[in-house]
Every structure is written in C-alpha cells, then in structure tokens.
C-alpha cells in the first residue's frame, strides 16, 4: 500500500491479485459449465443436485433421475476434466518451451501424443481384442509410453539429452506414428469408424466420467508440485545450458526428469480427451506476457489460465451446435488464435521463454 514498498513487493501484490482473479475465473467458468448444456436444467435444480450429492438430504429432492444423471454423471466430471486437461496441457507446453528453448514447442512436439493417438486408433478400428483387451484410454496411454521410450532411446547419447536431438527424434517419431495410424485408418472398412477416429483425434471431453478423473488429478498435482519446487533450475535451463551449469544445475538429469514427467502427463491427458491442440502452445505465452518468464509465477498462472480457457472452450464446443458437438481443437483455434494475436500486438514478445 505505502509508497515505500519495493518494486518486488509491488510485483508480489500484483501477482497475488492476478492469481486471485484467475482462480475466480476458474470457479466461475466451472459454474457456467455445470449450469448450461444441451438439455435445459433449471439453475437452482442443477446446484441442488450437486449439493444433494455432496451432503445427502441437504435439499428436498425435486428433480428427475435424468436431470440428476445429466448434472452429476455428465456435466460435473466433464467440467472437472476440462480443468485438469486445460491446466495440464498448458503446463506441459510451458515446461517443454523451456526444456527445448523454443517458443513453438507444444505438448505434441515430442511425438507422445502421436503415440497415444496410434494406440487409440488401433482400438477404435481393430477392437479392444487387438491390444489384449485394453480399453481405448489404456491403449492410448500404452501408445504414449511406447513413444516416450522410443524418443528417449533415440534422443539420448550416453545418458545425455540435448534439446535438438530431443526435438528431431520427437518430430520424426511423430511422423512415424501418424503414418502408422493413418495406415490403420485406411484399413477401416467403414466411413463411420473413420469419422469417429477423426473426431477423437481432434479432442473431446464428451466421454468424461468420474472414474476418469483420479489418474490425471494425481499425476497433474504431483507434476505441478515438482515443477514449482524446481522453478529455479527451470529458470536457469530456459536461460541456456551454460547459465544453468554455472548455477550448479545438473542439466542432464533435469532434462531427463522433465522429459519423462511431461511425457507421462501428455500420455495421461491425451488418453482421456484426445489431442486438444493449441492450449499448450498459446497459454504459456499468454502467461509470460502477464507475469514474465519466472517459472515460480508463470507456472501457476499458466495452469489457472489453461484450466479456465479449456473450460470455456468446452462450453462452446457443447453449446454452439447443440445438441451436436464440436471437436475441441476447432474451438481452441477459433477462440484462441484471435485472443493470442491481440495479446501479441499489445505486448512485446521479445522476452518470451527466457528469463530476462
């Protein structure tokens, strides 16, 4: 408050305010997502249903089983999954941009999502029996792990990962996996199956159920905690290898840890929602434009921004052509690109990625 405050303290106040505003946006967008949908459920009723589930008997039951199913089994888990996927993809994008020191990096750069997509397409077209009875999301996760292992083997040289090898191995394997799933897709006897696959590949939260939430929640919470604890090494890494080494960071070990962590996160997220494009690319840049490149501030802002953004995107995907649905990647690009261009024009992006 007082004029004597240091710039850092003023920055802290501004940061706290921003985080508070973003947290409110996350809650508000989730409230919106639970309140509206393809089927009209009166607002008080929607919240009475949630309240009744949380504290049974709190409110008199006046709703139909169908409305309860819609709010409790479809909308709420879907809204929560949107938060997890949005936050997760955005954080992964931020870390990968620092890891490979490239502002174009996004969660799909390292081929992990292509591996996940390959697993999903195999199950879509060839049936669960093709991969020993794995479900769609289990197959997607298995594909992600396979890609992770391959990229790691290809990118490392005597235990060291370099950004350029990582990117090249990732991009090359992404093409390989895309070719593989395109082949499986071409073998499909039915245009219907192909359409389903394409829709899934472009991302959808339509299949969200409660049982899909625990795994992404745990992985995201653990990952985010680790990354926040490592914000100093992350800052050093994004400033350059020499800087990091001179600051005493074990660069090789950090790179491997970050690679495995982000790959696992991408695998888990893509397995639940398909490949949602663009969130992981633009949200970290938006966060840097807001609070700078220091990961201590940038990562929480990225997570909150990503969560709120994907929540609103999913509401749009459900509502624009209701009761039909749009694939998420269509909406992320449609709403994300203009916003991002506006941000770019407003603020200098010269300081993007690296800490200055």
């Amino acid at each position: 408050m007082s004029a004597q405050k240091t710039p850092a303290a003023r920055g802290n106040g501004r940061f706290a305010l921003l985080v508070a505003v973003l947290a409110v946006s996350v809650v508000a967008s989730t409230w919106l997502a639970v309140s509206i949908g393809a089927v009209h459920v009166a607002l008080p009723q929607a919240w009475a249903i949630v309240a009744d589930r949380l504290v049974p008997g709190l409110v008199p039951r006046t709703w139909t089983p169908v409305h309860e199913q819609i709010v409790w089994q479809f909308r709420l888990p879907r809204a929560l999954l949107a938060l997890l996927v949005g936050a997760g993809l955005a954080v992964v994008g931020a870390v990968l941009q620092a890891l490979v020191r490239n502002p174009l990096a996004d969660p799909f750069l390292l081929g992990i999502s292509s591996g996940a997509s390959f697993g999903a397409v195999v199950v879509f077209i060839m049936g669960a029996s093709a991969l020993g009875g794995l479900s769609l999301s289990a197959a997607a996760f298995a594909g992600a792990l396979l890609a992770l292992a391959l990229v790691y083997v290809l990118a490392q040289r005597s235990g060291r990962l370099t950004p350029s090898r990582l990117v090249l191995a990732g991009v090359a394997l992404a093409y390989l996996f895309q070719a593989a799933y395109s082949f499986v897709l071409q073998q499909a006897q039915s245009g219907r199956a192909a359409q389903q696959v394409l829709f899934w590949l472009m991302g959808s939260l339509g299949g969200a159920r409660w049982e899909m939430l625990p795994l992404p929640s745990v992985v995201l919470a653990a990952g985010l905690t680790y990354l926040l604890l490592q914000h100093r090494p992350l800052n050093a890494l994004s400033a350059g290898e020499e800087t990091a080494v001179s600051l005493g960071v074990n660069v090789h070990r950090l790179r491997i840890t970050l690679f495995v962590l982000t790959s696992l996160l991408v695998g888990v997220l893509v397995a639940t929602s398909g490949a949602v494009a663009f969130v992981g690319l633009i949200v970290p840049h938006a966060a840097r434009l807001l609070v700078g490149a220091d990961h201590r501030r940038m990562l929480p802002v990225t997570a909150l921004l990503g969560a709120a953004f994907l929540q609103l995107v999913d509401v749009a995907a459900r509502m624009v052509v209701a009761p039909q649905e749009l694939a998420l990647s269509i909406v992320t690009a449609l709403f994300g690109v203009p916003f991002f261009l506006w941000l770019l024009r407003r603020r200098s992006v010269d300081r993007a990625v690296t800490v200055t």
Binding site: G37, V39, V66, I70, M126, S190, S204, E325
Partner: protein, 335 residues
C-alpha cells in the same frame, strides 16, 4: 522381389482377362426394343444404346439391388462384403462374381479403368473421388462406363434429402437401363405392397420413440433427423428422438441422449475391418444404454441390430423397414 512383381502382374492380367462366361447370348446387331434408353442421375444424362453386360458394382447394396432385379449375371466385378450377413440367397451368386476390390470401395483408378466395364453402380460419390485415388465419374464415362449413383447420394448435402422413394426410383431406372422394365415394375409393386402393409399395420399405433446410434459414450455417434436411417425409422412406425438434429450421422452430446427417453435403440451392425466377422453391436448397445440409462429402452434392453448396409441406398432399405417395423410393433404383426 522381382519374381514377386512378375507374379503379381501375371495374376492381375489373369484377373483382367477373366471375362465372365455368363454374358448374355444376345442377338448380335439388332437394336433391342426400347433402346436407346435415357435416364438422369445426379444432374447428368445417361444414354444407353443397349443394356449393360459388363457391370462393376461398388458398395454391396448396389449389387444386392441388381440381384433383386435378377441382373446378377450382368455383373463382371464386385467389391468385398464381409461386414455383416448376406441377404438370403445372395451369398452364392456373390461368390460367383470376380472380386475386384478387397474393400467396400471400388479399386484404385488404373485397376478400375482396366475392368473395361460398360456400367458402374455405386451409392456414394466418395467412390469416385480423385483425391482418394479413384477413377472419377467423368473418367469412367469417357472410358465407356457410365456411372449411376443410387439414392440421390450425389453430395453429402443431397444425401440428407434421401427418401425411400429414391430407392424405388433407382429400381425403375435400373429396370429401364437393363431393358427389364416389367421386372422392375413387378418388384416395385411388391415392395410398395410391403410398405403399404407396414403403414397399415403400424398406422393407428402410437409411434415408438427410437434412438439410432453407432455407439460412443460421449459424444454419442447418433443418427439425426435427415437421411436413410431417419427415413427407415419413420416408415417403420418409429419416431426418431433426434428428429430435430438436421444431420444424418453426427456427434451428439450425451445429455441430449440421456434426456431423449427412447423406447428402443437401433444400433448399426458392421465389422470395422475387412474379413472381420465380428460386428460390435453388443458393446455399442451397452455404451448407448449406459448413456440413456433412465430410458424405457434401457429398462427393457430393447435393442435392434441394423446392418449398416441397410443404412445406405439400395434394395435392402425397403426390407429393413419391414424388419424394423416388426421389432418396433410386434403386436401389429400378430394377425
């Protein structure tokens, strides 16, 4: 490798040289009565000086339609059909016709043109998309193989306008093209009688609310209020719960499915891979009924497997109406 290539070429040549022995013993030059015949199809005018004798058929319902008209002996090449069961009596004549494509699509351009067909029958313009590597309608036309597209499926938009009358129109046109108008008229009259019978039986009864899907937990892959499936449901005394969705096959929000309260569920039946004998109706039905968990259809476990071939233009459409009506209104068929 080289040996293999030579072998493959020899096999291909052998396949090409296989002129069907079933060709009609027609009078050599004398023009057949009633010819030339002119029909219009997808905005083009097709003229035939004589009945086609070397026909290539695309997706199986096209072949079924020719079988129904007793024209199987005119077919020189067909695609593979292994996604679901054959219509009664169709397996044998199918086996006698050379398979020119191992998939449900026509073969690639070169192989297709090499067939030397004089008529091509299919039910989707996708089979003639140059981008997919297929011979286009124009190329086939120039090669002396005019293309007839069934059901008015000239474009994705046109496919939304399909009605069962389009199938009857196809039968009439094919009867004319092949010089068997009487046979076509007789079949049309029989099928019309079947449709009238269904209409009469289900007429006074309250329509059964039907949800037609292809599975999916969310979004649900469902059939909206336009296109073949919607027409089948309506003709069979059903009421499509997604009638307001102006689409054929589309992705629908699970909320809307949960709230739709269908009395019965229709699931597309097909194997997704060639040669695969396993249709996936049970799993798709389980997904759909878990979304529509509070519906009468879920309580009664009322599921009808509709072969996807019947959801494409062709003779099978009209048979499916009767089957579906019997499922939706069993009481109406007691007498």
């Amino acid at each position: 490798m080289k040996k293999l290539l030579v072998l493959a070429m020899a096999l291909t040549l052998a396949a090409c040289g296989q002129v069907p022995a079933t060709r009609e013993a027609e009078p050599a030059a004398a023009p057949q009565a009633g010819f030339p015949v002119t029909v219009s199809n997808c905005g083009r005018t097709l003229t035939f000086d004589k009945p086609p004798a070397k026909v290539v058929t695309g997706y199986h319902p096209a072949l079924e339609t020719l079988f129904a008209l007793g024209l199987g002996d005119r077919v020189a090449g067909r695609t593979n059909f292994s996604e679901s069961a054959f219509l009664p009596g169709h397996k044998e004549p199918y086996d006698r016709i050379p398979e020119i494509s191992p998939t449900i699509m026509l073969p690639q351009k070169e192989l297709m043109l090499a067939q030397g067909a004089d008529f091509v029958l299919d039910n989707s313009i996708a089979s003639f998309d140059a981008a997919g590597g297929y011979a286009t309608v124009e190329e086939l036309d120039a090669a002396g193989a005019p293309v007839y597209i069934m059901g008015g499926w000239c474009s994705p938009e046109a496919a939304l306008e399909f009605t069962l009358d389009d199938t009857l129109t196809d039968l009439r046109n094919l009867g004319a093209i092949f010089g068997v108008p009487d046979r076509a008229d007789q079949l049309i009259n029989e099928l019309r009688a079947d449709l009238d019978d269904v209409r009469e039986r289900v007429g006074g009864r309250p329509p059964v609310k039907v949800l037609a899907t292809d599975g999916g937990k969310g979004p649900v892959n469902a059939y909206g209020g336009a296109g073949v499936t919607h027409q089948l449901i309506t003709a069979a005394g059903g009421q499509n719960v997604l009638a307001d969705v102006k689409a054929d096959y589309t992705e629908v929000n699970p909320e809307a499915i949960a709230a739709a309260q269908p009395d019965a569920v229709v699931i597309s039946e097909y194997a997704t891979l060639r040669g695969e004998k396993k249709p996936t109706v049970a799993a798709k039905a389980a997904d759909t009924l878990s979304v529509a968990a509070n519906s009468p259809a879920a309580k009664d476990d009322r599921v009808f497997a509709l072969p996807v071939a019947a959801q494409h233009p062709g003779y099978r459409n009209l048979l499916a109406v009767v089957d579906l009506a019997r499922f939706l209104h069993p009481d109406a068929f007691q007498r």
